[in-house]
Symmetry: D2
Subunit: 466 residues, 4 copies
């Protein structure tokens, strides 16, 4: 609900399978939570590449007729987060480009921090860009590289860029998957039939019936061609800094990342939160669906029963038409309705995964109060979000993050809860166990693995509530 | 998930409000779970009626431009369940017709059991039908009635029909809401601003900010016009037989019907089920979302912890493209993925709301077994479904209902669970408390409130799995 | 160009041909000039009827996929003239209806003059109408008829109506073509392969490779079934009154009607006009395309050379976006551009087929004057249009017909021509030779074959210039 | 009809007018005959460019909503000829690109003959192309140019290319129109209100109310900015070689090019043809619409009367659905129907503008013979087409041009005419008077102004009949 930090993208690649495009389509279906703005698939048949993409969810964009236009035994696909604006189709992926030695398809999850600078240099020298995406910078670097062979061109190009990337490339003869040295975003390698797949999250493998081989390591480049798989480590080694928000909110609960099941991690966040900020109450509820795993953990640890306190409308679409005469808390009510018979007269613990601008939290507290809850204790399964992300998560600017300028008490007072507690940074780290020192938690701590000057960074878009 | 018994329709009416059509639209939004096949709104401005309808969900059918074509201070709306076929738009509602004294709009939730016979008589006498819906029979009866005044025409017409109906009529001067004498389906009356609303479920009132006045009684006719509300009881009194499947599966958990909150009733089904069929296990999970309330009740009563054992893909659309080379349990996997880390090695109690043909249950058991569950105990929060419904629920024919021809043990063996138990009819009745002797449970017991000859009844459509 | 009197419709029927719907589609293609608002085809396969219709031209409405939905060996089709308005799809044809003994399809070219009165009676008695077309009245009369057998029901029904009709009916076992006793509009019978066709104009037969058998006579009813063709004359005989505007403007020049080729008749109108109103000049030009045949005749008779003085834009669509800052004579210039090099300094005779409101004529004269013509002599190949039509032609109300209230000299002065002459009524009659006393020329003479009270007649729509 | 040589494109530019995009839209409307595949408009508002383009005719592509997305006081537009294929939208124009100093919009009519070679060099050096159009080569050359200032970059780039081009560029501060040194295709400069326009043909100026200033000369570059118009001649002077097919077939008859009205030139072709190849006959008819001007000239010179012998269906769209069971001469009959009453028993002279593969001519002769013509004399108002065009006209390969391998007698025999004559090359040159030695007639003579190796030249597409 309040998980209004948005993941950028999900990627999928299929190699050497007679139904490559159909599997890519299903993989994107399973990764749809990583982006609903646009979807696209590029396939390779012989030496020819085909591409179909459009605005919307994968099942809306790719119909039977368009899927039939994607022949061949290799395919890559991409889903992108929801935004608006005229140029959106040009920004959608996969990207396809012809260069001197052939054709490249590319899908990218992440964000480059020096893309603007490189782009200026390329344009100065006569390159023509079709979009404003940082991903296109990589395409131009590859086209201009003087290195011999495609893989070398990729290495040459990636050595010039800084930032977060989980990338899949497809050429006439190979599929390449690679992850930046810090490994900000997930990327996993699997086997399907006689071929291979590369996907953002393991839940996509579950759907298409693939078997996880292993995750692609930070800084690793995996090349798949007709001879099989080869692994390279062409980049200087760095400390792993995996985005902890993938565990907190983005990833699907049934995915396993770096060996940890996401639902289980979230339950542990909830248990830790209960240990850190116990309060006497009658019932633990969650803001569905993202807060539910943590709420179960909180209930288990605290001994206070979990219940379904808010019903989510499962049919909410991208748009709705608001009445002119405003309805109170309209936006939130479209999605959530509290169960009065359960909450009336109760002391309620409400678990949410994060607070961004707090406007939604305020409305939710008011809704719950409106059906007669006696006390409302807000518990957040992530630490206060004080800093913007530059590695592929769409956050508002620092000024808009309420925790960057307000104390916990001020926020509690603003949302009109009876109490508000966040999990501690230390508690969060402990909850992810072996990954505790391998996460990027810059949005909570400001400890950026790659330095960024905020004023030079173009925010991808303004933060939207709900 | 396995709730493949489908509700027919949801209805909404708004009277005397400057944004009538917009509120009808939002009301349908909240009632979308009652039908996703088609949506439509009819509005009244002065003496002129406007209508917009189409195939799909309300937010897809009614865009800003179409809503702007629905002026006026009264409106009625309708959502219909999902089916296919060329003639579907003609079957969608509201229906609008001109008759000698003016224009009528009508929306209908339910099913008439003598529609075919009346229709034949009308056609014989020169009436021309536009659709195959039983609702159109009512329109023709009204047009042909010789009674004086619209309300009398309605009474005259309804006295000729038998079956289930929650109806809203709109004319140039009044809105009428009425419910059949048995009260099979819900219909509630509310106040909004200076006007009134009539809706299938109270969750629609919550969204639009209306206040529940009361439910419309079985056999009651409520007339709303510029002088206010009047209530009539023009039909012989009957024993109330409210569809218990509304409590079990159809209605939204946040709705209150006949004074009982649906989520609370479902939890009680779960508690009762636990009392009737306890089993030693490690975890209680549900088939989301419909089984979750009962699972919480089961867990509470049994003391065995509830957890999220299956993750539902929230982005599943109406269509997807299956690969030619079949994926095992593909249909179920598109929607549900078990959490291996939670279920592996565990004894699992799985709560579902009903079993229809058992094919889906079989796949789900197999999926859970596939991630290593040690034991699987299936518990169903409704009794065995042995009989078809003729009052507005889309059930398969009796032959297809597995419980009509198989014992519980045979079904358990077919779905390959370690044990299978249903709630008892008596337990179900007890769980709905004061409503216990006012429900229609013909689908479990064969005790039909209105007699039907199955062979004469055209089944609305074949049962589709998933 | 200025032929802003609009034909209502074109009809086609195919019986006993394996590609019935495709031939109906092509027949409508050839009859497209008779109506561009909507198009539709109904086909019969076994006992089942299929229908596809929509707004627009036939090639836009019926695509490959929709044509594939029209199986069977019999089909009827319809094109309708261009209008606007929300209810248009409901007004489009063919109409299809179920009645006690089966299903009927119907297409109608013409206009009934007592439809409103019959409609009121039917509604009073409980009939429900779906459209505002007079054609639907016929359907209800048939459904209510107590006569035995479909053909008798048709005769029973048509005996109640007055007006103009060229009708094709299709039932499960027969196709019926019939024409009103005055024979206002054309209808021809042909043979195609082993089957038959009925079409509005012979040009449709030319395209589909059918052979003209003969025209269906005024007052005749032709029944085609598996035993062959039978002809009946069920209605009292009347004097033939064929719409002379079909010869003047509506019909395609390559069609033959009542034994006369339309292009040849139009040339004769031109010759007669030259005989009646000679003037010294350098060149004869036409308003393309409708005035060209008459212009050739005028040139031939007068000895003054014909030339192409105005170029018509062949790509004009239904809509265009006008600039805010108005362009002089914009509407006319979108369609026509004078050839300056030809007209500059010349004395020009301009042939047009009719003048309705004269606003377009005025613009055309101004355009021609604007490229330097020395003299402009307007010659009209029909008499002054002084009266509205009630038999199937969309004319403006009498007040809007300039000739109803202005003398020839006043009109000439208004359009700013150097001279203006019309063909005489007598000259027009002489030009159609043997048909001279069998035409309806009520729009010129006010001699209405069927009496109409103008004030009771709802004009179909206001007259639109260009 | 048989004018199956296709023009590539039409271009329009508007500078300094408050309704720039709307005028560009109307200009394209008037130039629609130059291309129906795709249409597009790019506008400039302040420093920002907007673009809307799509497949189809301009009135279908640019609706009110899209036009509203094109603000500003400068705009350029483009229509492109009809073809098929998935990549067509990418090929459509205007093209827009960002380069180091700003943004360029470009529209191009013509064809470059060394584009493939330059493209290879650019790709080798890292340029990424979005389309297969030769026009995109110009964009990349400009982006890479090291010259100072946009105009110098354009000159630098055009000095590298060879071929035919009428180009309009738009930047943030200027509009540039330029024509290749041979001046293959037309381009005219006009004044509209306080601003300027550049268009392919003068008929576009007539519609929008612009005044012709003069044509842009071959080899001239006109720069329009806020200071007014400046003219440059940056390229070495060449002999003018204007495409004579613009006079024969492509241009609209109401356009004036190089001082000659197109309709008048075509009439002169007809007169010359009559002088060269007189034959005794009863009537002169044309294949409408392209042969009509020449037919009038032929009739005038020969004294044999002109008449309308074939009626063209004015509603022919891009697609139609053919019956499986083939109709004789179906394709031709869809468009043309002979007037039997006129032609039966007559000796007929048929004027057409050109013969390409002769398959259509053969069908037309057969159609006319089919309605009873006694003799058919085919007269062609252009010389035999023996050579392919490489400068912007879509011709079939030489092998497909019947005149490249067959004598006149062989062609006459193939089409089954009684006689066949073409205008002579010398007669054609004489007919264009002062332009006689300034035309490109390579398609008739093989005298290519710019040398081309046919085997290296990728034909744009296969020739399609009808």
């Amino acid at each position: 609900m309040s998980g209004t930090l948005k993941e950028h993208c999900g990627v999928v690649g299929i190699y050497n399978h007679p139904e490559a495009a159909n599997l890519a389509y299903l993989g994107l279906y399973a990764l749809q939570h990583r982006g609903q703005e646009s979807a696209g698939i590029l396939s390779l048949d012989g030496n020819k590449m085909f591409i179909e993409k459009g605005m919307g969810k994968v099942a809306d964009v790719i119909n039977q007729a368009r899927l039939a236009q994607l022949p061949g035994s290799a395919a890559i696909g991409h889903v992108r987060y929801s935004t608006s604006g005229e140029s959106s189709l040009a920004e959608s992926q996969p990207l396809m480009a012809k260069y001197a030695s052939g054709t490249i398809g590319i899908t990218h999850n992440g964000n480059l921090i020096n893309a603007e600078r490189i782009r200026s240099l390329l344009v100065e020298d006569g390159s023509i860009f079709q979009s404003t995406t940082d991903s296109e910078v990589i395409v131009h670097l590859i086209a201009r590289s003087r290195a011999a062979g495609f893989a070398q061109r990729v290495i040459d190009s990636l050595s010039k860029i800084e930032g977060a990337y989980s990338l899949i490339f497809l050429t006439e003869t190979q599929m390449i998957g690679t992850r930046d040295p810090h490994g900000f975003h997930p990327l996993a390698l699997g086997r399907i039939g006689d071929g291979y797949c590369i996907v953002s999250e393991t839940c996509a493998m579950d759907l298409i019936g693939a078997t996880l081989i292993r995750e692609i390591d930070p800084g690793e480049m995996v090349i798949i061609d007709e001879t099989g798989i080869k692994s390279f480590r062409p980049f200087p080694s760095q400390k792993t800094r995996f985005c902890v928000f993938e565990y907190i909110y983005f990833a699907r609960p049934d995915s396993t990342i770096h060996g940890l099941n996401v639902h289980m991690v979230r339950k542990e966040f909830g248990r830790q939160l209960a240990r850190e900020s116990a309060v006497d109450a009658d019932v633990v509820i969650s803001i569905p669906d993202s807060g539910t795993s943590a709420a179960l953990g909180y209930a288990e640890e605290s001994g206070i029963p979990y219940d379904i306190g808010m019903i989510r409308n499962r049919y909410v679409g991208r748009t709705f038409i608001e009445p002119k005469q405003s309805i109170r808390h309209f936006g939130v009510k479209l999605k959530l309705n509290p169960v009065k018979e359960l909450l009336s007269g109760k002391r309620v613990i409400v678990i949410d995964d994060s607070i961004v601008r707090a406007t939604t939290s305020k409305k939710i507290v008011s809704l719950i109060r409106g059906v007669g809850a006696r006390e409302i204790h807000l518990r957040i399964s992530s630490p206060p979000t004080c800093f913007s992300c530059y590695y592929g998560i769409d956050t508002p600017t620092r000024q808009e993050l309420i925790a960057s300028s307000h104390t916990k008490d001020q926020i509690c007072s603003y949302v009109e809860a009876d109490s508000l507690e966040y999990i501690s940074v230390e508690g969060m780290r402990r909850s992810v166990g072996p990954m505790g020192d391998k996460i990027c938690d810059a949005c909570f701590t400001g400890d950026y693995p790659l330095p960024v000057k905020e004023e030079h960074f173009v925010q991808l878009r303004l933060f939207d509530s709900i």
